[in-house]
């Protein structure tokens, strides 16, 4: 069964550094998402992406965050200048349509030192 793949599985970065999290969504999906989950807490929506542009973003997704779909397969989340509070598990998800279930990747654990 096709799945969403994320790399790396764990990223350790110094505060203030830039980090790029990568995702390969399921190939025939059109909607792409990033979520984060701080340890032991709920899953929080960051951003959705459709038709090569952001369709929705949360207040967490400030100017330090950006997303890109640089080619036909990858979907990336960039954090420009990381802060301690960015430490979390970041999940990428994709869906065929807006009202279909979103399929989640295994996540990237981001640790900011």
């Amino acid at each position: 069964e096709p799945e969403v793949t994320q790399t790396p599985s764990h990223q350790v970065t110094q505060m203030g550094q830039e980090v790029i999290l990568r995702c390969v969504p399921i190939s025939n999906h059109l909607y792409f998402y990033w979520y984060r989950q701080i340890l032991g807490q709920k899953v929080e929506f960051l951003v959705s992406f459709y038709n090569n542009e952001i369709s929705e973003k949360s207040e967490i997704f400030d100017d330090q965050f950006s997303v890109e779909r640089p080619d036909g397969s990858n979907f990336t989340l960039k954090i420009r200048s990381t802060k301690l509070e960015d430490s979390a598990m970041y999940f990428c998800a994709s869906g065929r349509q807006g009202n279909q279930p979103q399929h989640f990747g295994d996540g990237t654990r981001l640790s900011i030192l």
């Binding site: 909607y31 998402y33 709920k42 929506f45 369709s55 929705e56 999940f91 009202n99 279930p101 979103q102």
Partner: protein, 111 residues
Amino acid sequence: ELKVEQNPLFLSMQEGKNYTIYCNYSTTSDRLYWYRQDPGKSLESLFVLLSNGAVKQEGRLMASLDTKARLSTLHITAAVHDLSATYFCAVGMNRDDKIIFGKGTRLHILP
């Protein structure tokens, strides 16, 4: 602003027992999801409920949706240890892409 509340947040139960997890949401929605998360793992889609009165069943789990009451339930029948996990409900806002998650219900089933 859409709020999603689950209860209980933690549930410890014996194998073989039945129980229900509740999910309330604050504004009109056109879709509701249930996800399962094992510790340190990703989220697995269990059910998508799209209309009032929708009921879906998979094994020992059954989900239902009452859009008028803005309530969904996830019922566990004759629980087994393998169902131990955290269960999240998530609600989609009308015509928006994002879904808002509840805090999750951590289910621990004792042998």
